[in-house]
């Protein structure tokens, strides 16, 4: 009995010692020692100087987008391996990072990878860890909308650090917050939907539409892209329905929508685990979901494999990618991913994931950073002012075309409308059917600081949009213009 007691006491003491050791390790945290993600411990010399550039990446390893952690990191890793001489730590697991990158002779050290969960709260905590504890100079990320708004606001308070968006698409991030040191080389959710309103009004002949969208910033932004363009072309949005995030039963929201004989078409912006249940609820309440009367945003891309094959021919909004275009730059991008990675968990082989929106957008962010750092000779000792200036004026060549930034450091780039096609295995896949050239964030002045997408914004006004009627059709992967 006594022996057992002594043992228990010893174990308890051990636990206490372990906790104290953890605390001691935390207390010994200082600004000059970090552990690289690649696994080897290194000592960085100075922070904010040009002897070493400390890079942090805020990705997503939990929450609705946790599965795309590997793709995010593969985008960053491939860019640094291809253009900055980095060595990928593990070609079968991009989340292990890379080592040995250098730009203009200045080493770039990956000091940490943040683990977001698509909430602003965690994004800020992770950002502080990366930029304050690990002393990051520059951060790439985050992935999703609400996170990016919070990070852009954080950026405002830290002007001598630079932030490049990962793949987040909330409009507020750049147009509303306007942090001078936050750059976004991907489009926002509204831009990604450019072309859908045009297709609905002019090709499908919709004169009226109903929009059902998740009730949060990215979905509002995404729906706003359709609404702004559809109304600009002359259509009328007669119903907007907003199911809250995490809704499990969509029947009441389907019931709020007009009947199929009361409206010409429906635009869906319901994501995550809600995409398919929402469509099912519509079928139960209103009748079949047809490819000519229903369109979706990029959320339908994520659910394509599980959607009914009868949806072949339905149009969906873009995600800034068009991997099926027959362009040399598209093939080159696939080859880069294939060259540096074998697999990207949990989806398997790397090559087929080369044109995932998450991978491409993180890749573009990393490539932009590399080009920006090259432009300033790797010198960020001026509180990164020169780097930020260089980033703002980049013309960034990407897999599908070039990207420039507007005055709010927001991408202006081509967009792509896709259509569901049936693949060999009988499931649905995507085919690019139109290129919408150089779409800007404001949609011809529809959006501005102070009038961000919400439940009521934008209104439904006819206006001239430069790209409406000027889309370039794509036939068998070849743009016809």
């Amino acid at each position: 009995m006594n022996i057992a007691k002594h043992r228990l006491r010893a174990v308890r003491l051990l636990v206490l010692v372990a906790v104290m050791a953890l605390f001691a390790a935390a207390c010994s945290d200082s600004s000059d020692t970090t552990t690289t993600v690649g696994g080897s411990a290194t000592t960085a010399t100075t922070s904010g100087g040009t002897e070493v550039i400390k890079l942090a990446v805020l990705s997503e390893c939990a929450g609705a987008f946790g599965d795309f952690h590997g793709q995010d990191m593969a985008g960053v890793g491939a860019a640094f391996a291809e253009y900055a001489g980095a060595t990928i730590t593990n070609p079968d697991d991009p989340t292990e990072g890379f080592t040995g990158a250098s730009i203009a002779g200045v080493p770039v050290e990956l000091v940490g990878i943040g683990c977001g969960d698509d909430t602003a709260d965690t994004a800020i905590k992770e950002t502080r860890r990366l930029m304050e504890q690990l002393d990051g100079d520059i951060m790439i990320g985050p992935l999703s909308g609400d996170e990016s708004i919070a990070v852009a606001n954080y950026a405002k308070d830290h002007p001598s650090q630079t932030f490049i968006n990962g793949s987040a698409g909330a409009m507020d991030t750049t147009l509303e917050v306007q942090a001078p040191n936050f750059f976004r080389y991907n489009s926002d959710g509204a831009q990604w939907n450019a072309g859908t309103g045009d297709v609905a009004f002019n090709d499908l002949g919709w004169k009226t539409a109903a929009v059902i969208m998740d009730d949060y910033s990215f979905a509002w932004t995404s729906g706003a892209g359709f609404i702004a363009e559809f109304c600009a072309a002359g259509g009328e949005v007669i119903s907007r329905v907003f199911p809250p995030l995490n809704t499990t039963d969509y029947s009441s929201f389907a019931g709020q929508l007009p009947d199929p004989d009361e409206v010409d078409g429906y635009f869906w912006v319901v994501g995550g685990s809600g995409t398919l249940p929402a469509l099912k609820a519509f079928e139960d309440a209103k009748g079949p979901v047809t490819p000519t009367q229903h369109m979706g945003n990029l959320f339908w891309e994520f659910a394509a494999g599980s959607m009914d094959p009868s949806m072949e021919g339905a149009y969906i909004g873009g995600f800034g990618t068009a991997g099926d275009l027959k362009l040399d730059s598209v093939e080159a991008h696939t080859a880069i991913i294939d060259k540096h990675y074998d697999t990207i968990p949990p989806f398997g082989e790397a090559g087929p994931q080369a044109h995932s929106g998450f991978l491409v957008n993180y890749y573009l962010a990393a490539k932009a950073l590399i080009e920006g750092l090259e432009a300033v000779g790797g010198n960020i000792s001026d509180d990164q002012a020169a780097l930020q200036s260089a980033l703002g004026s980049l013309v960034l060549a990407g897999p599908y075309g070039s990207t420039t930034l507007d005055d709010n450091r927001q991408a202006i780039q081509d967009q792509y409308v896709r259509q569901f096609v049936t693949l060999d295995d009988g499931t649905l896949g995507l085919s690019t059917v139109a290129v919408i050239p150089t779409v800007d964030q404001t949609f011809g002045g529809t959006f501005a600081q102070g009038s961000m997408p919400s439940r009521t914004v934008p209104g439904c006004d006819t206006r001239d949009l430069a790209w409406v009627g000027n889309s370039i059709s794509v036939v068998d992967g070849v743009p016809q213009g």
Binding site: E132, N153, D172
Partner: protein, 373 residues
């Protein structure tokens, strides 16, 4: 006669809990630890990095304050409240809506930060009274469920009522100029949080020894007897809940000054459980367990993933939460009364048997836990 004996027992146990009132033993191990903790709080910024002060210590202090409100209710009122995160969050959202000047979700009223504090604390305290009045009629598991419901309703309220926030939250919340931003002046908010923590600790300890506190403990131990003695159980429990809400709201003020941003995830189910974990691993029977639990929680969350070798065994960045879960599980399995319990045992093993005194709030911790739940 039985009732008189009961009150007498409550007073005796409370007197036992009161450390050294009228005692000649000034230099007890506990007193030494308390003094060391205060000295440590004062000098910590001189020996640690800005990040550690701003992110780890300040966060631990403010989480400690809100956890103390939970422990106060649990240990002295027998009410394990999962609504404390809501109280803390309501203050944050009220201040966020009141003081932002535009460019953020919410009302953007642009008021002075101090008016925001008054509104935040005031509204939260009133809300705590109202919710407490509802919840106080139930006990045990039902009380736990009702308060959990309050917390979840709060999460969805701020997520879905976009007039006040939306899931994106309220950003760019200003703090009073003398606090500044934590990035610029990490020590300022740290010392404010440290002083508030000490004051909250002392005040809550004092309250547990007032007639109100003793009655509360009596209600915790045997509400039938207290009721037959003429005590109004409902009003005592409601007032305790209101007081705990007030304390949590102070933590909410510190949080919004510290984070400059709040969104529904800050008060979601993860945060609710996080607070419960803090209280349990620290020691849910002792107020000081709140801060012990908070510092371990914050340190573990922040540093466990940097432990060399974890990546090699498949527990790297993406899975660090698993490790943290194991640590907490380990602590709770080894010591049901948390880290404070371990500390107490060590203290007892180092002091002569005759000096042992109970530090539990008037009852045996093991049976107390089961009563509470």
């Amino acid at each position: 006669m039985a009732a008189l004996r009961f009150v007498w027992r409550a007073r005796v146990t409370a007197a036992r809990a009161a450390p050294e009132l009228g005692s000649r033993r000034v230099f007890t191990a506990e007193r030494v630890v308390q003094v060391a903790a205060i000295v440590g709080l004062v000098v910590a910024p001189a020996f640690t990095s800005d990040f550690f002060v701003s992110f780890v210590l300040t966060q631990a202090l403010l989480l400690g304050v809100v956890a103390a409100s939970l422990i106060f209710l649990a240990a002295y009122g027998g009410m394990v409240s999962l609504a404390q995160t809501l109280m803390f969050g309501v203050t944050g959202f009220v201040i966020g809506n009141a003081v932002t000047t535009g460019g953020s979700k919410g009302l953007n009223l642009g008021l002075d930060p101090w008016i925001g504090v008054i509104l935040g604390v005031g509204i939260t305290t009133v809300l705590a009274f109202v919710l407490g009045a509802v919840a106080s009629r139930s006990t045990g598991l039902y009380f736990l469920m009702i308060t959990l419901t309050f917390g979840v309703i709060g999460f969805y309220f701020f997520g879905q009522v976009t007039t006040f926030s939306g899931f994106g939250g309220v950003n760019q919340v200003r703090s009073p100029p003398f606090i500044g931003t934590p990035g610029q002046f990490p020590e300022r908010l740290y010392y404010v949080a440290a002083v508030i923590s000490v004051v909250v600790y002392l005040v809550l300890r004092y309250i547990t020894r007032t007639p109100f506190g003793l009655a509360l403990q009596g209600i915790r131990d045997d509400h039938v007897r207290m009721s037959s003695l003429g005590y109004n159980l409902w009003i005592h429990r409601t007032l305790a809940f209101t007081l705990a809400g007030f304390v949590a709201s102070i933590a909410g003020v510190l949080f919004i000054w510290w984070n400059r941003q709040i969104d529904p995830a800050s008060i979601g189910i993860g945060a609710i459980l996080g607070l419960l974990i803090i209280a349990v691993i620290g020691g849910i029977n002792r107020l000081d367990g709140a801060w012990v639990g908070a510092i371990v929680f914050v340190v573990a969350n922040n540093y466990v993933r940097d432990v060399p070798g974890l990546n090699q065994i498949g527990l790297g960045e993406a899975r660090f939460n698993t490790i943290i879960g194991f640590i907490f599980l380990f602590i709770v399995l080894l010591s049901p009364d948390g880290l404070i319990g371990i500390g107490q045992r060590i203290t007892r093993s180092l002091t002569p048997a005759r000096m042992h005194t109970s530090r539990d709030p008037g009852y045996d911790s093991g049976s107390g836990s089961s009563e509470m739940m």
